[in-house]
């Protein structure tokens, strides 16, 4: 790895973790929403 190229160390770390967290939450929410829609259709 070339030294000195690295920029925005902590900002990148935070960005990576947030993107992951948000992505996982969105998927969980979509599962929840699909289930809700299905239950509404059933009743």
């Amino acid at each position: 790895m070339p030294d000195g190229v690295i920029v925005d160390g902590w900002a990148s770390v935070i960005a990576a973790y947030s993107v992951t967290t948000v992505g996982l939450i969105i998927y969980a929410a979509s599962l929840w929403q699909r289930r809700r829609r299905l239950e509404r259709k059933q009743s």
Partner: protein
């Protein structure tokens, strides 16, 4: 269906605890890496995501074989669950990879072996989901997506080797020797956290699929009486 406690929620709880602890250790306790400094901390989420994404797609492959073999709905539900989870994780893997590339190489994208293979994998399996969406017959949907998944999964090693030969001059990835024990701990905790989270996703999605199929199913119409005539 509702009101009853389902076992996968315990797994979710475990996943959340592990991911919180692992991330805390990774961000606050573990020392920064010698050459790359704090950027290295992306690895604590990146590597587990990669492992579990690959694992999910492997589960999809196994479930696809089971689905073709048995023709049972349960296997098809497992196929959707694991494919969708695998695609979501691969998508996140790509975004993490891009952030990593930006921080270390100064570019958002680089035709690196792993990055490229992940991208092709993502498109391949997302394509399977697109195929599913455009088939109306439940029977056809199950067998076609199973066939497509088996073919796509078998293709991944070919893509990997091809890209590796294509870019044979590229730098070697960080080897395990450079990772010391303090870094392995958060990596492992997060990997298990991610494993349990993926399990929860797969099971939830599979249950959703089964429930959806149940809604589509209609009960047999009532048996009608048959008029029997003996002689002409």
């Amino acid at each position: 269906m509702r009101g009853k406690f389902q076992w996968e929620h315990a797994v979710l709880l475990l996943a959340l605890v592990l991911l919180t602890v692992g991330t805390y250790i990774g961000l606050a306790v573990a020392p920064p890496e010698r050459h790359m400094g704090d950027v290295q901390r992306i690895m604590y989420v990146h590597v587990p995501t990669a492992w579990i994404a690959m694992l999910s797609l492997t589960v999809a492959f196994v479930a696809a074989i089971g689905s073709l073999w048995s023709g049972k709905h349960k296997w098809d539900a497992a196929v959707v669950g694991s494919t969708e989870t695998g695609v979501v994780l691969t998508g996140l893997l790509l975004s993490q990879g891009m952030i990593w590339a930006r921080a270390t190489w100064g570019v958002w994208w680089d035709w690196d072996v792993r990055l490229t293979t992940s991208l092709v994998m993502f498109i391949l399996f997302a394509g399977v989901l697109a195929l599913r969406a455009s088939v109306d017959s439940a029977e056809r949907r199950a067998s076609w997506s199973a066939v497509a998944i088996i073919v796509a999964y078998a293709d991944v090693p070919l893509v990997y080797f091809c890209v590796r030969w294509w870019r044979s001059l590229h730098q070697v990835q960080s080897t395990p020797e450079t990772v010391d024990a303090a870094m392995m701990l958060p990596l492992r905790i997060n990997a298990f956290g991610m494993l349990f989270l993926a399990t929860w996703f797969i099971v939830r999605r599979a249950r959703l699929e089964l429930a959806q199929r149940q809604v589509e199913e209609t009960t047999l119409p009532e048996r009608r009486s048959v008029e029997e005539v003996q002689h002409a």
